[in-house]
């Protein structure tokens, strides 16, 4: 199978790759958001501590 054939997915490339792309983005967001929130939580807590000292 050539790369072109693989990407074209027998003419269904748009449907197949959009499905996989959107799935990837949604699943990635579900990991990134809580990690970003945690970083923010610690940053805020550190700031508060510094102010109180």
């Amino acid at each position: 199978m050539s790369l072109d054939e693989f990407i074209s997915m027998g003419g269904y490339g748009f449907y197949v790759w959009t499905s996989y792309g959107v799935t990837f983005c949604v699943l990635l967001a579900n990991i990134i958001i809580p990690i970003a929130q945690r970083k923010q939580f610690f940053a805020k807590a550190l700031n508060k501590q510094k102010k109180s000292l």
């Binding site: 199978m1 693989f6 997915m9 027998g10 003419g11 269904y12 449907y15 197949v16 959009t18 499905s19 996989y20 959107v22 799935t23 949604v26 699943l27 967001a29 579900n30 990991i31 809580p34 990690i35 929130q37 945690r38 939580f41 610690f42 807590a45 550190l46 501590q49």
Partner: protein
Amino acid sequence: MFLIPNAVVRFFHRMASPPHFYAFTDKVMPWLIIIFVLLTGFGLYGGLYLAPSDYQQGDSYRIIYIHVPSAWMSLFIYMVMAISGAIGLVWRIKLAEIVAISSAPIGASFTFIALFTGSLWGKPMWGTWWVWDARLTSELILLFLYLGVIGLYGAIDDKRVASKAVAILALVGVVNIPIIHYSVEWWNTLHQGPTVTKMDKPSIHVSMLIPLLLMALSFKFYYLIALIQRIRIELLQRERNAQWVKAKILELRL
């Protein structure tokens, strides 16, 4: 109780304690990620490259490798949410409440993915993005149930009260789960019947079935990873005045 080994009981007892849970998940996280990456790698290689085209649907059927596992996850996570919500409701275990609410956005995501990829599969195969048939409609209701849980939790300030309300909503919504599962048998529908979970013999070739099962397993591990991340931030926020969180913050300063 005497049927369960003491070590197992002790393990669950410790896990219900937030600082222990936090430390334990720190240790297992790299392993979960390794298993997830391996499963996904082999699953996608098998599904997108090794498996042959479908004799009727050509290559469009390859959407199955994310569509079906996502749909399974949407139901599985809902049951986890309802059961842990019930445990939180009855025994007031904080970690059970947190598992319930932390599952909601992940479950909503999988429900959205199931609907979205189904739509992209339906267009070339059925000629339409959407029909109001039993399977699709009941899955859409599932998405609204998840969003309802998230919205309700956010609307109540006292998180312990919010957890109670959310658990009750989730439990009421459980009636939708068998409806989704049996919808393709109870009603005439465009959606095809089950190919894998048929009791006698799955009507899918083994070269297509193996990648599908690998992806289903990979999504289970993804759920564990995403769930742990959500639980951690929820724990930190709820317990921000607890000694172990203060110690964690202090650790970061040094």
